[in-house]
């Protein structure tokens, strides 16, 4: 089972190292981990994609929660969250094939963010499956480099919670 965990953590040096070290030393497999500041500068949000059965997931959650700098952990997979992954992909394309690629970019609602005489850099965001599909479509065009943020996710609507500080 694939789960998306969303953790609110104190925005302090070392928290990411602590969390990733804990996951590694306890042998938990993480598909993706994204971290960034939240609306409150004193907190960051970490979004994890974890694969495992319920028991593994329960332990991941509890071990995360046990870290003093981790403020709260939610498994949001069951709440139909909005999930996004952002990718920058650089492909080697001659001028003759540019319009073909540009059409695909448009169909995926991506953007061309850099252009040289023989390369294009494209920005794509969306669900994992969409990002993956775009990568597959770009393969014939000589992918030069690729970078992805990892999954970020938020639950839809107003989340009722007395525990959020």
């Amino acid at each position: 089972m694939r789960h998306v965990l969303s953790a609110l953590v104190q925005n302090q040096p070392g928290v990411l190292a602590h969390v990733s070290g804990m996951l590694a030393s306890r042998g938990f497999n993480i598909d993706s981990l994204a971290v960034g500041e939240t609306e409150k500068p004193e907190f960051s949000r970490m979004t994890f994609v974890v694969k495992g059965d319920d028991r593994v997931l329960e332990q991941v959650r509890k071990q995360l929660d046990k870290i003093v700098s981790v403020v709260r952990v939610d498994d949001i997979s069951g709440e139909n969250p909005v999930e996004r992954d952002l990718m920058l992909i650089k492909v080697g394309v001659e001028a003759t094939k540019r319009s073909e690629v540009a059409l695909l970019v448009e169909m995926f609602r991506g953007r061309v963010v850099d252009i040289t005489h023989d390369t294009l850099m494209i920005e794509i965001s969306g669900q994992e499956s969409k990002v993956q599909a775009f990568i597959d479509l770009m393969r014939p065009f000589n992918i030069l480099e690729l970078a992805r943020t990892g999954r970020i996710a938020l639950v839809r609507g107003r989340v009722e919670s007395g525990e959020t500080p």
Binding site: L8, V9, Q10, P13, G14, A17, H18, G21, M22, S25, R55, E58, Q59, K62, Q63, D65, K66, I67, V68, S69, V70, V71, R72, P165
Partner: protein, 584 residues
């Protein structure tokens, strides 16, 4: 919480830290100085009348002294070292404290802020190193933060599941002067250690008991740490349920009680392991289903439903699924259960309901007691321990005796043959299993309990690992007693070699040749430290020698030569089950 300076006077960071320790009730620190912690030590001399500083002879010794202090009092033990090698010498102490849930605070000097990250002299990123082996950790970045960090450290170390904290304090932060606020707000939005059991959960636990014919209590360190021992006794007596104890649970329920089945697990009693295996309800109080207890997890207590009470949510369902999981303080839970039973005795069966169960247990107890061979030609380690307890009891000293150990055979024999009746009268390095723990551990206990008899039952391998602390014993006038069971071998490894490697000795012999005198000469070493010592070989000399040690007002090492061929029994080999128990 007296303050020595009037508000508004600037103080150095070092003074602020020391004052903050005093404000938090610290009466002793175990501190070894060095370049990056010199300002702290200068401050310690200033506050000397209020705060005793004990100088260990190795930082690891200081860390284990802090543990001995903490484990026998429940209060925070504080140790201090300089940066780099001083700090890394705390690593084992912190890992040990994390495994056994001991509240210690290690304060380390760090190189000055502006050179952090430059590979400066005696620089290590100790917070990075210690992250997974502490409950929490701080690299202090401003002198203004010291009082908040100390306040948070004490709060975190002592609440919830206790654990170790490291505070790394760069030298410039120690030297800078500011006007401190000694009562700043804490900033711990993610730390919620206190959880209460719900009434329905307690009712579910009692229902589990009502549905059971063969219940058993499996009690561990959480009972001792939370102060649950008196409530556990009441609960066991009111329900008539027998109690098996982990190595850290010993003393949490009186050994001489009819319902006590003593230690369970790898080297536990045969009857406690049989009882766990047969039980139809396992009441697990303040335990973590360690592999030394369970053996093969799938087979452990497989006939029974499990109620698991622990303060740490991550322990619930970690190893074994619990039908009744309760995240709460064990003492509170047991107190509430006793109150519920008092208010309505019908909530649990009459203790006589377990007549058949207890008859079965009695039969096991009678047929398979802990035993060892009786020999006149040698002092067996089991005999030495059992006899020492009898002598202490006959002298009326037992209630004021605290015992600790190194790690290995002697540790297990101490757990088996010294019968503990009082919580915190016994402590040992159980989780990490750190050799060299005993002597500094006993010293820390002696500092906290100056009038008690603090005994380190040790092996020759373990004792040698922190033997330098005899200097601390002498100079700080800490009259600890070492019962050294000297078999010239790493006994436990030797035992495993005998059982699993055809007796091939792979660097487990510590002497200098069987044709020579036992090596090293511990008596001469001890005397070199100005401690008293003698060596005995004959069983007939044991009583007199032990009495001489107990009568001494000095640190004393009684070097008892014992045969190395003895094995700790019974034994359930790692990963196996009660059916595989080795009895001889």
């Amino acid at each position: 919480m007296a303050k020595t300076t009037s508000p508004g006077t600037p103080q150095t960071g070092a003074d602020i830290l020391v004052q903050a320790l005093i404000n938090h009730g610290v009466e002793v620190v175990f501190a070894y100085p060095g370049g990056a912690s010199m300002p702290l030590h200068q401050s310690l001399t200033k506050y000397a009348p209020k705060l005793r500083t004990i100088l260990p002879r190795h930082e690891q010794g200081g860390g284990f002294m802090a543990q001995g202090y903490a484990r026998t009092t429940g209060k925070v033990g504080v140790c201090m070292a300089t940066s780099g090698p001083g700090a890394t010498n705390f690593v084992t102490c912190l890992a040990d404290a994390k495994m056994d849930s001991v509240p210690i605070i290690a304060i380390t000097g760090q190189v000055s802020s502006h050179v952090i990250g430059t590979d400066a002299f005696q620089e290590t990123p100790i917070v990075e190193v210690c992250r997974p082996i502490t409950k929490h950790h701080y690299l202090v970045q401003r002198t203004e933060d010291i009082t908040r960090v100390v306040k948070e450290a004490f709060h975190i170390a002592t609440t919830g599941r206790p654990g170790p904290i490291i505070i790394d304090l760069p030298k410039d932060i120690q030297q800078r002067s500011i006007v401190p606020d000694y009562d700043p707000p804490m900033n711990l939005p993610g730390y919620k250690p206190v959880r209460d059991a719900k009434k329905e959960q307690l009712e579910a636990l009692l229902a589990l008991i009502r549905g059971s014919k063969k219940p058993i209590i499996y009690a561990g360190g959480g009972v001792v740490n939370s102060g649950a021992a008196p409530y556990l006794k009441q609960f066991a007596e009111k329900t008539g349920i027998p109690v098996a104890l982990t190595v850290h649970g010993l003393g949490g329920f009186p050994s001489d009680h009819y319902l006590c089945l003593h230690m369970l697990g790898m080297h536990g009693t045969v009857y406690s392991n049989y009882a766990i295996n047969e039980a139809d309800a396992l009441l697990a109080f303040g335990v973590r289903f360690d592999d030394r207890v369970t053996g093969k997890v799938a087979e452990f207590a497989k006939h029974g439903k499990i109620a698991h009470v622990d303060i740490d949510p991550s322990e619930i369902n970690k190893i074994k699924f619990a039908q009744v999981p309760i995240v709460a303080n064990v003492a509170e839970v047991l107190k509430d259960l006793v109150a519920m039973i008092d208010a309505n005795p019908a909530l649990v069966p009459n203790p006589s309901a377990y007549k058949d169960w207890m008859r079965q247990i009695d039969e096991w107890r009678e047929n398979e007691p802990l035993k060892y061979q009786h020999r006149e030609d040698a002092i067996l380690p089991q005999y030495a321990i059992e006899r020492m307890q009898q002598i202490l009891r006959d002298r009326g000293q037992l209630d004021d005796t605290i015992v600790t150990t190194g790690v290995g055979q002697h540790q297990m024999w101490a757990a088996q043959f010294f019968k503990f009746n009082k919580a915190r009268s016994w402590f040992t390095s159980g989780g990490l299993g750190t050799m060299g723990f005993g002597l500094p551990g006993a010293l820390g206990a002696q500092v906290a309990h100056p009038l008690s008899t603090c005994i380190d039952i040790d092996g020759d391998g373990s004792f040698l690992m922190n033997i330098q602390e005899l200097a601390t014993a002498y100079t700080e006038k800490l009259p600890v007693k070492v019962l050294l069971l000297n078999n010239q071998h790493l006994g436990m490894v030797t035992q495993w070699e005998d059982r699993f490697f055809e007796g091939n000795r792979a660097h487990t012999y510590l002497g200098a040749g069987f044709e020579h005198e036992p090596y090293p000469d511990f008596v001469t070493i001890a005397r070199g430290f100005k401690c008293q010592s003698q060596r005995i070989v004959k069983k007939g000399d044991f009583d007199a020698a032990l009495k001489e040690m107990l009568d001494s007002r000095m640190p004393y090492v009684l070097d008892v030569l014992t045969p190395y061929q003895e094995h700790v029994l019974p034994m359930i080999p790692g990963g196996m089950t009660v059916r595989d128990i080795i009895k001889a």
